[in-house]
Symmetry: C2
Subunit: 257 residues, 2 copies
Amino acid sequence: MAALPSTSPLSASDAAVDAAPAFSPLYQQIKGLITRELQAGVWKPGEAIPSELDLAARFKVSQGTVRKAIDELAADNLLVRRQGKGTFVATHAEQQVQYRFLRLMPEDGVPRDMERRLIDCQRLRAPAHVARALDCRSGDAVVQMRRLLLTAGKPVVFDEIWLPGTLFKGLTAERLAEYKGPMYGMFETEFGVRMIRAEEKIRAVAADAASADMLGVPPGFPLLSVERLSFTYGDKPVELRRGLYNTEQHHYRNELN
Amino acid sequence: MAALPSTSPLSASDAAVDAAPAFSPLYQQIKGLITRELQAGVWKPGEAIPSELDLAARFKVSQGTVRKAIDELAADNLLVRRQGKGTFVATHAEQQVQYRFLRLMPEDGVPRDMERRLIDCQRLRAPAHVARALDCRSGDAVVQMRRLLLTAGKPVVFDEIWLPGTLFKGLTAERLAEYKGPMYGMFETEFGVRMIRAEEKIRAVAADAASADMLGVPPGFPLLSVERLSFTYGDKPVELRRGLYNTEQHHYRNELN
DNA sequence: AAGTGGTCTAGACCACCTG
DNA sequence: AGGTGGTCTAGACCACTTA
C-alpha cells in the first residue's frame, strides 16, 4: 500500500474508522483504534488480540506500523506480547502480576502472599474531597470500604477505598468476602473496570486512635500514608484509596531512572 | 548489507568491535557498543552523538537497527533525542531535568526551586552498612556529607550522603559550597560520575533529637525516610543517600502503570 | 508444518532545525 | 539547502509455540 497522504490518514471509508482524530502519525491512530476496542471490551482481559498481520490487513497499513502501535501499548502495560503465541490483553487477575500497584516489600525483598481481611463496606454519599478526586459531584453515591492486609497474622496495611457507585452497583461485603484474589482482578472480571494507571502521594503521618487500633501500634506511631488515585481508559479516575502502612518490617520500594 | 549469520553477528574484523558479547540481537549489541562509548566518556554529557546514519555506517548495519538501539537507550534516559538536531548524551546538569531523582512535591504540585545548605562534609572510614551498599570493604575511605534542602527558608529535607572515596578524591566542603546547581550535575562535570539509575526504600520514622533539630520539628515527629542507592554504568553503586523529608507541606509523588 | 511475534534491511518521504 | 530524527513500507528471515 502506498503511503497515505498525510492530510487524510485512514480514509473515512475504512470500516474500522468512524471518528479518526486530528492528524497524528499513523501508528498513533492505530494505537487509538486498538485502545478503543479494548475500552469497548471487544477483546477481554487475558484474551489474545488479532495477530499483527491480521490487524495490518484490517487497518490497511503495514505490519511495521501496527507493530509500533502495539509496542507502545505493551510499554503502557495495556497489552502483553508473547512470542510465538500472540498479543494478549493485560489483566490484574493473574498469578504473575498480582499486586501490580503495591510497592510494599518485606525487609528481605522477597514478596510474600498477604492475607486480605475486609472490615466494612458501605454505600455513602461522596464527601467533598472524594468527589473532587473521582470527578463527580459531592453527595453522589459512592462505595466506601476498609480492609487490612496482613502477613503472618500481623496487620501491615490499613486501606480505605472509595469507588464511584454507578460503576460498582452490585458491590457488597458478601461478594467481596467470597472473591479470592486481588481486588483489581475482581474489579475487572466482576465489574468490567480495568485500572491502567495510578498516581500516588506519599507522606509520613502519626497514627490516630482508630488506625493505631487497626494496625496494632500505639497512637502517634509513624505510618506511611499512601494516597492513590487510579485511572481507567480515557484517564478517567475510578478509585481513590488511602493506605496506611506500618513500615517497621516493610518498606515502599521505588525505582528511579 | 546482508543479514549477518546469527552465530557470528558483527564479525571480529569490524573496527568498532573487539569484545562482542555472546549472541543477542544486533541492536542489543549496538546498544552495548554505544553504552561502552558513553561509559568511556567518548561522548560527554550534553554533547551530541553521531547521527543515526553515521553510526549505521560505522557499525555496518542499517539505520533501523541503530535506531532501535538508540530508542532503548533513550527510554533508559541515557540519551535524549531532539528532532532535527540530533541525539544527545543525557545530563543531570541542565535546567529542564534538575532534580531528576527527587520526587518531593509541594502540596499544589508546582515544583519550586529549593535552597541547598551544606552542613558538613568529611572523609571517614566506611561503616559496615555503608560498605555493604557501596560494594566496598568496611573501613574503606568514603566521603560523608550532610545537607538541608529548604523552601522559603524552611528546612524540608535533611540528607545524609555517602560516596566512595576513590571516585570523589577532591571533594571538599569548599568545592561543594562554590558549586551552584544540583549535586548530580557537579558529580558529572567535576568527577565524571554519572548517575543513571537508583533504587529507593521508603519508610515512615519518628524524628530523633538530631534530625528534629535540623528540620525544626519536635522529636518523635513523623518523617519520611528515603534511602536511595544510586548506580552508574555497569550497575555499579556509587552513592548511598538517606533523606528525611518533612511531609507537612510536601509529598512524595509516584506514578504507577 | 503453520502461525505468531522478533529482527533486519533498503529505500522513500515527512517534520523539524540550522545556516 | 542540507542535515537530523520520525514515519512508513515491503519483504526477508529467525525464534518460539502449538498442533
